[in-house]
Amino acid sequence: MPAEELELIQRSLNGDLEAWGEIVCRYKEAVFAVTLSILRNYADAEDATQDAFIRAYENLRKYDLSRKFSTWLFTVAANIAKNALRKRRRERDPPLPEMDGDPAEEVHTDLRLAAVRAAVAALPEAYRAPVVLYYWHGLSMEEIGQVLGLPVGTVKTRLHRARALIRAKLVEQGVIQDAVG
């Protein structure tokens, strides 16, 4: 862990909220990517991101300084998002129009990226988070396992399955060619 970040955490542990604000600034986008992968809704992901930073601060004394801080923070965020998802399901899952983007705009930007996003969005919930943590955050299998509370083998099978599902969808839509790589 960089010394500067360690100092921010130690100051936060002593109640310095400005230091914690700096941590929020550094990690908000990465935490947002975690919550978005689970909740698939920008507004819910925003709320969960805020809750994650509040919960992390309140539980900061439980953070083991020998662990990677980002992994611990993503674990907190993933748990908050999973709880929010369960709550949303109890209250009848609303439709998720925000993730679809503007179709007209997407036609003009990149059809392939839009198709990939749609394919990721269509993945079962259990597969989306590992995909985002691997491709967006660049986490290792072990770190993804820690964040999501899964055995490493399960992470690997989910990543393989997710990628195969996405590829099959893109082939089916004619976005990419079907050829063994």
């Binding site: 908000k28 925003e46 509040i54 990939v116 393989h160 399955r161 790589g181």
Partner: protein, 178 residues
Amino acid sequence: MRWDEVDELLRAALQKEVAEGVKRLEGLEERVIQELARRPARESLWQRIREFLTRPTPRWALVGAMAALLLGFALGRLTSPSPIPQWSPNLFVIAAPGARSVAVVGDFSAWQPLPMSDPDGDGIWTASIPLPPGRYEYAFLVDGKWIGQDPLAEEYLRTFGEYVSVRYVGGSRENLSS
């Protein structure tokens, strides 16, 4: 399209998706600080007692694991052993003495674990999976640990930073890869 090209597409698409939502995070620092400043600095005694009571105890986890292990052993003894099938391109074999669970995963199962069995308890786990002619990528899961290099595989490739094995059924690499 090659797998690494699919990987690149995925990275680009996810970056775009997150980037489009990031504007919502403007001012998040201030909102978090305000919310924290509004709250009591430390958990109440009741919260701490509740947390202590609901925290899983390692001792109980160990007892649960031992009970599950004994139950699994007893159930295993009750089932009758079956002979190991003859080797065929569809037979998956791995030596894993002492393993509690072994499975094969691959593109033929959409990477869902298919349980393997060791009926006579000699540590050789097998699964016979009917497969049409084709090229198949697979790996083993031994007690949840990824084993990507099968000595019986025809080739290996690295994906997600790990090995997977490749097997050709009903033909050679040349006529099945195209």
